[in-house]
């Protein structure tokens, strides 16, 4: 009797797990992954590009980052044509990213090297450190903004 009850629980658990994983694989990964941010860091770049361009793919929690550093010849851009923002939701294209990047660059001034801007449904928080010549910005979708993830300062 005891064994049968436990067996039922185990079978139910396995079915539930398979069902959730199946839904997640069909697109809605937010069931498994908390929405998080996309981060871009450009540090000490050269006149003609970067030596190191490293794109971390979205991890299970949805984070992804693009890190560009040191003078070189490579452009600082995402490899994929569709950029994943927040919990695996495909939202931004590489054209969107370039538009966001241009908007960030035109927003930074000596008196206001950090700030926040909105691009379509996305909120972008940016910061520039002149001494390290480092630009860092994070892109949040509306879910992430609602979850309060955009409230924290962009760290150095």
């Amino acid at each position: 009797m005891f064994k049968t009850k436990n067996m039922k629980k185990i079978i139910l658990f396995v079915f539930a797990f398979i069902a959730i994983k199946s839904i997640a694989n069909n697109g809605d990964t937010r069931l498994l992954a908390a929405p998080t941010w996309t981060k871009v860091v450009k540090e000490n770049g050269g006149i003609f590009g970067y030596k190191y361009v490293n794109q971390d793919p979205p991890n299970p929690s949805g984070n992804q980052s693009l890190l560009c550093a040191t003078p070189g010849w490579h452009r600082c851009r995402f490899n994929s044509t569709a950029i994943v923002v927040g919990g695996g939701t495909v939202g931004l294209t590489s054209e969107d990213f370039e538009a966001i990047d241009a908007k960030v660059m035109s927003s930074i001034t000596e008196t206001e090297p950090s700030g926040i801007l909105v691009y379509n449904a996305y909120t972008v928080k940016y910061k520039y450190n002149v001494n390290s010549n480092k630009i860092k910005y994070k892109i949040f979708n509306q879910d992430e903004v609602n979850a309060g993830l955009s409230n924290a300062e962009v760290e150095d």
Binding site: T109, Y128, N131
Partner: protein, 136 residues
């Protein structure tokens, strides 16, 4: 009258001695430079140095360049920007150094060092380029 002619000759002589304009952009920042300095020597040569990340634009103070024909070319911010745009398009990973003739009047020589992130551009008359051994 003699004094006026002598004065003009002296002035032309002073102006036409030389005028190689060099500008160097080294370790610049995204939004400008920390140090922007221009040195000009008695012979007319001028060197603009723009160094380290900051907020100041790399802008030249006008320099007169005298062509053998007597024509005066004012090397100002606009001309520098125009030449700089050509340089920026010309520098590549396989060809970081090179030269070109601008407007059939000026010789431009450029060199980029990726490790130092330093771009050096020299602008001179065709005569001065010939004196340096270029067949232009």
């Amino acid at each position: 009258m003699k004094k006026v002619i002598a004065l003009c000759a002296c002035l032309l002589g002073f102006l036409s001695t030389s005028a190689i304009v060099t500008y160097t952009k080294s370790n610049g920042g995204w939004f400008g430079y920390k140090h922007v300095e221009q040195q000009t020597w008695n012979n007319g040569d001028s060197h603009l140095h723009c160094v380290d990340p900051g907020w100041t634009r790399c802008r030249v103070t006008s320099v007169n360049m005298i062509l053998p024909s007597g024509e005066v070319i004012v090397f100002d911010e606009n001309l520098m920007n125009t030449i700089d745009a050509v340089v920026m398009r010309s520098v590549t990973e396989s060809n970081p150094n090179g030269n070109f003739i601008y407007d059939n009047k000026l010789f431009v020589r450029y060199k980029y060092n990726v490790d130092k992130n330093k771009l050096k551009v020299e602008v001179m008359t065709l005569d001065e380029a010939r004196a340096e051994g270029y067949n232009v």
